[in-house]
Symmetry: C2
Subunit: 152 residues, 2 copies
């Protein structure tokens, strides 16, 4: 029997965001944004490359850099520079919702603290015009603290 005609295939949320921003909806962009969207913590370049390869979509290093930069430009992802001087990425723009980050010195993970907004809580010296503020806590995360027992 003949297959019924498929309706116009629904785009994933990631693909829709990419299409809405005016760029081409490519496998790479969709896959990278989905990796970011499915992660609770921020991911560095290697994390993302490994995840793509695991999904059968290995990519050139440079393409990944350019794709991530593009996602940040479009406001579909944001970036934090970790203490290891490497960039970490997470889905979602930052300008719309600036927030602090927590770097765990045991497991190395960087988490977004959406509830903590660093802006407009400090008075700077006269003449200094801040446009944004970066706030990063360093210490032990909840997971690592629990794993160590009651006393961290």
């Amino acid at each position: 029997m003949p297959l019924p005609a498929m309706p116009t295939p629904l785009l994933t949320p990631a693909a829709n965001l990419i299409a809405a921003s005016g760029g081409r909806v490519t496998r790479t962009r969709t896959a990278v944004l989905e990796v970011l969207q499915h992660s609770a913590r921020s991911l560095n370049h290697d994390d993302i490359a490994a995840e793509l390869a695991a999904n059968g979509l290995p990519h050139d290093r440079v393409t990944l850099y350019r794709t991530l930069d593009w996602l940040v430009e479009q406001g579909l992802a944001h970036r934090v520079i970790g203490p290891d001087r490497a960039r970490r990425f997470k889905a979602g723009g930052e300008i719309s919702s600036p927030h602090a980050h927590f770097h765990c010195e045991r497991c190395g993970h960087v988490l977004c603290l959406e509830s903590i907004r660093p802006d407009e809580r400090f008075t700077l010296p006269a003449g200094y015009e801040p446009e944004r503020a970066e706030l990063v806590f360093h210490g032990t995360c909840a997971d690592c603290g629990r794993r160590r027992g009651a006393k961290a």
Copy 2:
């Protein structure tokens, strides 16, 4: 007539700090610490190398890295990672007086805001144990704002 015997030569403040920390008082360490002490803003590796060369004391890149690391270890300098992923250094320890920094996006300078202390002003989610907090403002510094006229 015979020259009067010179008293034991006075060490510079920088040399005294270095001697007090137990390490050898070398030309390199003294010169680097003095460069840092004489600067109001934090300096990156190239800034320091250029300053040393201008003073007739050119140095190997690696030695500079090691010297700066050593000064930080001894608590005689502190370090901030700039948005260009390069470290910037300033005289004085940070643990004793944690403070925020201001990065000017026009001139690229990074200044210490000794009066703004990022710690103990935020409540983190349960289980998260911060040991230190980094707070960096990004915007236009007073100098660059003035240079642009009343309206930045």
